[in-house]
Amino acid sequence: MNIHEYQAKQLFDRYGVPSPKGKVASTPEEAVAAAKEFEGSQLVIKAQVHAGGRGKGHFKNGFKGGVHLIESADQAGEFAEKMLGETLVTIQTGEEGRLVRKVMVAEAVDIEHEYYLSILMDRDTSRPVIVASTEGGMSIEDVAHDTPEKILRQFVHPLLGLQGYEIRKLAANLGLAGDQAKQFGKLLNNLYKLFISCDCSMLEINPLVTTPDGRVLCLDAKFGFDDNALFRHPDIVEMRDTEEEDPREVAASEYDLNYIGLDGNIACLVNGAGLAMATMDIIKHYGGDPANFLDVGGGATKEQVAAAFKIILGDPNVKGILINIFGGIMDCNVIAEGVVAAAKETGLPIPLVVRLEGNNVEAGKATLAASDIDIIAGDTMSDAAQKIVAAVQ
C-alpha cells in the first residue's frame, strides 16, 4: 500500500518527525489560504499522485511540471487551477497519466547537505536495520555499488529497541555535531517509533537535509506498510487511495484475491502463490507472456473464482487464459463450477486451457465437459502451458 506525500507529512507531524511546513489543498481557494498561512517562506506547490518524476512531468492540458516554485499566494491559486482535476503524465505513470485531485503547498527549504536515512526489516537477521549515508539525494543502490564504505548500517534489537548510543554513533559517523546531532537524534528516535508503531516494512527518507539556518528535516519520504498488520491500523487503511491503484487490483482485493497485473497476453488463474508464480514462469518458458499473477488461495469459493475470471477477462490485452489448479484440499469441482458460471455470464471470446489435478478432480472435469464451453484440457503444467501459448499465437 502506498500513501501520498501529504499523508506522509501527517504521519511525520503525529510522531514529531520534522519536515518542511506544508498543507494539502483540494481547491485553488484552499491553495491560496495555505500559501497565505506560510507567508514569508519561499513556497512550492506539488501535485499529489503516487508516481515519481512529478517535476519533469506534464499535464494533458499542456501545462508543464507537477512541481512549481510560487512567488505569491495568488500564484498558488493559479497553479492549483491548472493542476487540480487535470491529468499528470510522468515517467512512472505511463501514457494514461494520473488525475490530480489534491495539491500540497509547502515550504521550499534551502539545502546545506543531503543525507540518506532509512529503516527496514532485515529478513536475514529478523530485526530492523537503519541504513544511513552522507550521500543523499541520489539512488542509494548506486552509492552502495560505487562507494559501499559510505553506507552505514545499525541493527536494532527487536525487544530493546533503538538505544541512545546507537543514535549517537550514527550521528557521529554522518559527521553531525552539536545542535544538529541533537536534532538528528530526536528525529531518528521518533522516526523509529513511527516505524514500529505503524508496522512499517520500509521507511525511506531521501534526502534528509540540513539547512543553512541549522535545521535537520525529512524532505522526501517513501513508506511501505506490512499488509498483514493493517488490521490494527484503521487510520492507515483510510489513507489508501484506490484511485491511484490498478483498477483490476482494486477489484481483486474486494474479493480477497491476490492479483498483480502485468503486460503480457496470457492470463492465469491459479491456487497458491508459489504455484501461481511457477505458472507465470512456465508460460514464459514456452515463449508466452503472462498477463497477471493471480492466486485464488486455498479455500476459494465459487463466487471468488467467478470474480477472478471476470477480472482477467476485463483486461483488453488478454488473448488466452490458463487455469492451473492443484486441488490438494480444495475441491476441483468448486473451481470448475466457478469457471462455468463466469463463462456463461460473460461469454468466452478467447481460448481457455484448464489443468485440474487433485481432490475431486473427476467431478471437476465432468462439470467442465458437461458445459458447452469450449475448453482445452491440459494434462500437466507443461502440457497446459504449451497448449495456451500455441492457442494465442
Binding site: 526489516m121 529478513r123 536475514d124 529478523s126 530485526r127 530492523p128 543502490e141 534489537h157 527487536p158 525487544l159 514500529i196 508496522d199 516494512s201 506490512d226 499488509d227 498483514n228 498488520a229 488490521f231 490494527r232 491476490n258 498483480i260 502485468l262 491459479v270 491456487n271 497458491g272 502463490a273 508459489g274 504455484l275 501461481a276 508464480m277 511457477a278 505458472t279 507465470m280 514462469d281 512456465i282 508460460i283 514464459k284 518458458h285 503472462p290 499473477f293 492466486d295 486455498g298 479455500g299 492443484f326 490438494g328 484440499i329 489435478e357 487433485g358 481432490n359 500437466t380 503444467m381 507443461s382 502451458a385
Partner: protein, 298 residues
C-alpha cells in the same frame, strides 16, 4: 526414521474448534495421525469429534496427553501469542499454519524463542507430512493442511516455501513411483522459524532420506545459504526449483516474503547459485521430479 515427525508423534491442535482448524484436524485423524489434544481458550473440557479432548491452557494439554508437536490454526492477531504459549508449555515442534501474521509479531517471537528447546516451522506454511505405510500413505503423521493421499512412503525429502508447489512435486514423485521420507513446508513469510538450511541438515542426517527436492522462490537469500552449505556438506543428490522468474521487482507476489528487492533476490541469481553448488535445477515446475531422478541416477 524420517525427520521431525513420525507415525508415533502425538499432535496437539491449537484452534481446533475453528472452521479451518477443525476441518484439518479431522483430515489428520482420517489420515491416521495421532491427534491427542485440542486447545481453544474457554472450551476446555469439551471434546472434538467425540474423541479428541479439548484443553485450556496449552500447558494442561501437554501435561495430560504428552503431546510433543502442535499445529497452530489461530487467527493472525492471536497467532504470535499462541506460538509463545506452545513454546512455554515445552512443545518440541510448533507448526504455525496461520497466514497473515504481522512481521513485527514474528520478529518478537523469533527473539523470544532464542534459547528455547522448541522448534518453530512456519508461519504461513502447509505444515509437514511423514507418509505412513498404508494405502494412500495412510497411518502417517500429517500436521497442517497438505493433502495426505498424494503422498507415498519412501526416500525423497521435500522442503519448500510454497504449499501447492510442494504438492506438485510430491504428486510428480508419487506418480513416478517414488515416495517421500518427510515433506516440510517452511512457509512464505520473510521471518520464519525453520529455514531451507535447517531442513537440509536434517535430511542429510536422516538415513531414510536418500535424495532431496528443495523448492524456493524470489526474495531473501535462504535458498542460496542452503545451497552453499550443501556444496560442501550434503552427500545426497538434490534437485531445486525457484519460482518467480517472471515476477516484477518490488511487488509482493502473494507470499509476504516473495519480493524481489535486490540483484541477489531474483530467480535467475538463485538458480545460478544452486547450479554452482551442484544442485540440479529444474527448468520448469513440471520437471521437479524428473530432474531429481536424473541427478539421482534412477
Amino acid at each position: 526414521m524420517a525427520i521431525l515427525i513420525d507415525e508415533n508423534t502425538q499432535v496437539l491442535i491449537q484452534g481446533i474448534t475453528g472452521g479451518f482448524g477443525g476441518r484439518h484436524a479431522k483430515l489428520s485423524l482420517d489420515y491416521g495421525t495421532q491427534v491427542v489434544a485440542g486447545c481453544t481458550p474457554g472450551k476446555g473440557g469439551q471434546t472434538f469429534e467425540g474423541k479428541v479432548p479439548i484443553f485450556h491452557p496449552v500447558s494442561q494439554a501437554v501435561s495430560e496427553t504428552g503431546a510433543t508437536a502442535s499445529a497452530i490454526f489461530v487467527p493472525p492477531p492471536f497467532a504470535a501469542d499462541a506460538i509463545l504459549e506452545a513454546v512455554d508449555a515445552g512443545v518440541e515442534l510448533v507448526v504455525a499454519i496461520t497466514e497473515g501474521i504481522p512481521v513485527m509479531d514474528m520478529m518478537k517471537v523469533r527473539e523470544a524463542m532464542k534459547g528455547a528447546k522448541s522448534r518453530l516451522v512456519g508461519p504461513n506454511c502447509p505444515g509437514l507430512v511423514t507418509p505412513g505405510h498404508g494405502e494412500n500413505s495412510h497411518g502417517g503423521c500429517r500436521i497442517g493442511i497438505a493433502p495426505g493421499y498424494i503422498h507415498k512412503r519412501g526416500n525423497v525429502g521435500v522442503v519448500s516455501r510454497s504449499g501447492t508447489l510442494t504438492y506438485e512435486a510430491v504428486y510428480q514423485l508419487t506418480s513416478l513411483g517414488y515416495g517421500q521420507s518427510t515433506c516440510v513446508g517452511i512457509g512464505g513469510d520473510p521471518i520464519n522459524g525453520t529455514s531451507h538450511l535447517d531442513v537440509l541438515k536434517m535430511f542429510n542426517d536422516d538415513p531414510e532420506t536418500e535424495a532431496i527436492i528443495m523448492i524456493g522462490e524470489i526474495g531473501g537469500n535462504a535458498e542460496a545459504e542452503a545451497a552453499r552449505w550443501a556444496k560442501d556438506h550434503c552427500k545426497k543428490p538434490i534437485a531445486g526449483f525457484i519460482a518467480g522468474a517472471t515476477a516484477p521487482p518490488g511487488r509482493r507476489m502473494g507470499h509476504a516474503g516473495a519480493i524481489v528487492g535486490g540483484d541477489e533476490d531474483t530467480a535467475e541469481a538463485k538458480k545460478k547459485i544452486l547450479a554452482e553448488c551442484g544442485i540440479a535445477v529444474a527448468e520448469t515446475p513440471s520437471d521437479m521430479a524428473t530432474t531429481l531422478l536424473e541427478k539421482w541416477g534412477k
